[in-house]
């Protein structure tokens, strides 16, 4: 695999370019269709509120997909991701308006590993709250 980032050019603390990912109700409907996860908490406001949620929430897997883009856009080759995990700590609440919600993601190199790999720790927030915990990717660098 051919990551464009060279192991020798990063160190613990190296920051990856941060990104913001908007998410609207339309985004969630599209993701439901593409992923096959049609749980109504992701598109039906009355249902979501009926089960105690503040409003419709994004699929956790949608947030997970967005967060790793900070890594894949950095290394260019998605095949350079050798491990990726997250904990879903807080829901991303998506109001029914034009702006929806925004997921902000930062990442930095947290550890230099063997075989020219690094561990990248990601921080994903929405409305000032962390929405993912233990969000980590192991990445094969050049």
């Amino acid at each position: 695999m051919s990551a464009i980032v060279n192991y020798d050019e990063v160190e613990v603390g190296t920051e990856l370019p941060a990104q913001s990912f908007p998410v609207s109700r339309a985004t969630l409907v599209q993701y439901a269709g593409a992923s096959g996860d049609f749980n109504p908490i992701h598109w039906n406001e009355a249902f979501a509120k009926g089960v105690g949620l503040p409003d419709v929430i994004a699929h956790g897997m949608f947030t997970m997909a967005e967060a790793v883009r900070v890594v894949t856009d950095w290394v260019v080759d998605p095949g350079a991701v050798v491990e990726y995990g997250v904990r879903f700590t807080k829901p991303v609440v998506v109001p029914n308006d034009e702006t929806g919600a925004v997921i902000e993601v930062t990442g930095k190199v947290a550890a230099m590993l063997d075989d020219r790999r690094v561990r990248v720790d990601l921080v994903a927030t929405c409305a000032g709250q962390k929405v993912l915990g233990m969000s980590r990717a192991v990445v094969q660098l050049a």
Binding site: M1, F21, G33, A34, M61, A65, D77, E83, G85, F88
Partner: protein
């Protein structure tokens, strides 16, 4: 009723092959607004050393979640899916999923724990291609919240 820890280690039969289509990968990449050309342009993927377009890192969940239906709907296990939330998710890749793959998933119950009335179920999905080569392992933890009044 808490889940029975005796189910730890239960292995379900491999699923019928899921054939990964190029347009399915495109549809998924568009849904997550990811314009990386490795997902849609075969030549771009080849330039990175892949035989065909590859799928985004979280795409395997589409296949492993479907496969995990065997577990969450196992009447003997008796999970109340209406109370379930996705606790955590992790993938360990041998290689990226790519167009043309015919993938089969073997689900294994890794652990069952009870914490403050919540059931915590960890399911591992081992994904292999047609030749039997390991492609990716998906680790999923589901939390079944305690029922009202318990």
């Amino acid at each position: 009723m808490p889940l029975d820890p005796a189910f730890v280690g239960r292995t379900y039969p491999p699923t019928p092959a899921y054939e990964v289509g190029r347009e399915k990968i495109r549809e998924f990449a568009e849904a997550v607004r990811d314009a990386n050309p490795a997902y849609t342009d075969r030549e771009a993927a080849k330039a990175l050393g892949h035989p065909d377009v590859v799928a985004p890192p979280t795409f395997p969940f589409v296949i492993t979640y479907r496969a995990a239906g065997q577990v969450v709907q196992d009447p003997e296990l008796g999970l109340d899916f209406s109370r379930v939330v996705h606790g955590d998710q992790r993938f360990v890749y041998n290689r990226p999923v790519r167009a043309g793959d015919r993938l089969s998933v073997t689900c294994v119950i890794d652990s069952i724990k009870s914490l403050a009335g919540n059931d915590i179920l960890s399911v591992r999905g081992e994904v292999a291609d047609e030749s039997g080569e390991h492609v990716v392992t998906a680790y999923m933890t589901l939390v079944a919240r305690a029922a009202e009044g318990e």
